[in-house]
């Protein structure tokens, strides 16, 4: 405010920064919507509501519904562990949680492929039990869990650190046991952090492509999630199908962005 900034440099920065964003982020997104509905709603709608399209949508949503809650529970438990219990091995857990950030999605897919594949370590046991992991829904879910492991933890940890232990100690002096303290004191205090983590986790699962591509075999109508649907249709020159699904995913992404924005404000308040 008080540090003088000349008008020309201010507009120069605006031009550079906003121009960059307009060209890099906004233009392609706008074009997507334009291209998709350029010839009307009919073609994209048909593509989405085709049996393959609907199946892809259902599969994607199913994955979200399973993977996100599992990672949420893990996230909350893990962050409680990391923040409230000092343990020598915590840094290892911390490092392991960071791993999915560093690994390419194809590598994730490959590693799952190798673990559960024909010569994989689990293979004999799984074959006996009749569980098919690869080229099937379980594999997809495992891949999505892998890539989204860190989010809830990463969001909850700083919030837990911030609130400190005083409230929990107060609850204990008032007679609450561990479960009551957690449920009535801790959880409400961290809920916005957790919520934000859940949103990030959901976004990641919805959009996962590379890992799922490897483990699922991208079999239309069977193991094809919505992102895979986009790719398959594009490669088969079925542009309306690809665009339709892409727009749907983009809309979901925008919903996610709005949720993120809302929660950021709640978290700050």
């Amino acid at each position: 405010m008080s540090v003088s900034r000349s008008t020309s440099s201010r507009w120069g920065l605006r031009f550079l920064g906003l121009g960059y964003i307009a060209v890099l982020l906004i233009a392609p997104l706008v074009l997507l919507f334009y291209k998709t509905f350029e010839d009307g709603l009919a073609a994209p709608w048909e593509a989405i509501t085709s049996s393959d399209g609907l199946h892809a949508l259902k599969l994607t949503l199913l994955t979200v519904v399973i993977a996100v809650p599992l990672n949420t529970i893990f996230g909350v438990v893990c962050s409680l562990l990391l923040v409230r219990h000092k343990w020598k091995g915590n840094w290892l857990i911390d490092a392991a949680i960071n791993l999915p950030f560093a690994i390419s999605p194809v590598v994730i897919g490959l590693s799952l492929f190798l673990l559960y594949g024909k010569q994989g370590w689990f293979e004999p046991g799984l074959a006996e039990a009749g569980i098919k992991v690869l080229f099937s829904t379980p594999g997809i879910i495992l891949a999505c869990i892998f890539v989204s492991v860190p989010f809830v933890v990463r969001e909850t940890v700083p919030v837990l650190q911030e609130i400190g232990t005083e409230q929990e100690q107060a609850a204990e002096t008032l007679g609450a046991n561990a479960w009551q303290t957690f449920w009535r004191v801790t959880l409400p205090a961290i809920r916005w952090g957790v919520a934000y983590g859940v949103v990030l986790c959901t976004a990641r699962v919805l959009g996962e492509f590379g890992a799922v591509s490897v483990v699922s075999g991208n079999i239309s109508g069977e193991t094809q999630t919505l992102p895979l649907f986009v790719e398959k249709n594009y490669e088969n020159f079925n542009l309306p199908g690809a665009f339709g699904a892409a727009v749907l995913l983009a809309l979901l992404a925008l919903v996610v962005l709005m949720a993120m924005n809302l929660l950021k404000r709640k978290e700050a308040a």
């Binding site: 003088s4 390419s104 590693s111 232990t165 303290t181």
Partner: protein, 302 residues
């Protein structure tokens, strides 16, 4: 946040007070370790195993084949270029979001996270629509190395912006005013006061962006494709899987993974360096790149 953690009364871990309801810390730890093992560590172990399954020699051959080396070099160089570009533009954008006021600012602030929320394959699709054969502005550089760079810029921008932004928000404006009262002009103030205090966040954001860029797959797949001169490491790995060359795929994956792990390690070092003089609170656990949250101006005064 760190200030608070440092000042809060330290309750020494009392063994009998379990913060994990209903179960002990031991059981909780067991669950966490088990989950991580099954989900993350075992698959990676299986991959390591596979890569060496035909011997170290074969591992080495796969990794040093011309195609492999070229793909690794390509992604390394492109990632370096991309993080350099985004270091500059990301800082500018963060600056605009914190220090400037313009109509639509909150929309821009939200849209920064778009690459994060959007599936990478959709990113690839929309990029090729705009800059490909059917480009409405007649610019076509799809399936070129430039396309790789643009795709990577797209997906890694939020990392830098969200790493710099909170540091700018929390920055002690008094320092800038003090510098002004001592005679420093705008550029000097940025160079000597603001930038050094942004550096830890910027470095962390850059390192994360780099790690992400190294492994990026979906967004380059359609846009840059797998032509001989645009095959980055991740695409090569995908090709080898399709060809059934699992050992090769695993070997190159291990190398790629190691490169990214070095990045993560560097981030930890940066974190330590950043808090060395208490100059800025770079707490990776709260790193908005990962968390996405923008902390408010906290009270760091003691």
């Amino acid at each position: 946040m760190e200030a608070h953690a440092a000042n809060s009364p330290v309750a020494p871990p009392r063994a009998r007070h379990f913060r994990l309801p209903g179960v002990g810390a031991g059981l909780g730890r067991g669950y966490v370790v088990l989950w991580l093992s099954i989900i993350v560590l075992l698959p990676l172990a299986a991959m390591l195993d596979k890569s060496l399954s035909e011997g170290v020699g074969q591992f080495w051959d796969q990794v040093t084949s011309p195609a492999a080396i070229q793909s690794l070099e390509l992604i390394l160089v492109c990632s370096l270029i991309v993080v350099a570009i985004n270091a500059v533009f990301g800082t500018i954008v963060a600056w605009l979001l914190v220090r400037d006021n313009f109509p639509g600012k909150s929309i821009v602030n939200a849209i920064i996270d778009l690459p994060f929320a959007l599936p990478t394959i959709v990113a690839s699709l929309i990029l090729i629509q705009l800059w490909g054969k059917n480009s409405p502005v007649g610019i076509d550089f799809a399936l070129t190395r430039l396309a790789i760079v643009v795709a990577l810029c797209f997906v890694t921008l939020p990392f830098v912006v969200r790493a710099v932004q909170p540091l700018l928000i929390e920055m002690d404006r008094d320092m800038e005013e003090a510098a002004a009262s001592l005679g420093a002009g705008g550029a000097t103030i940025f160079r000597r006061i603001i930038f050094p205090n942004l550096l830890p966040g910027l470095a962390a954001g850059v390192a994360l962006a780099f790690a992400r860029a190294l492994g990026e797959y979906g967004s380059v797949l359609l846009f840059a494709g797998g032509k001989s001169d645009t095959t980055v490491a991740s695409i090569l790995i995908g090709q080898k899987i399709e060809q059934g060359n699992e050992v090769g795929a695993a070997a190159i994956s291990i190398v790629l993974l190691l490169m990214a792990l070095v990045c993560l390690f560097v981030i930890t070092l940066i974190q330590r360096w950043g808090t060395r003089h208490e100059r800025s609170q770079v707490n990776l656990a709260a790193n908005p790149v990962i968390t996405g949250a923008t902390p408010q101006k906290g009270d760091e005064r003691e």
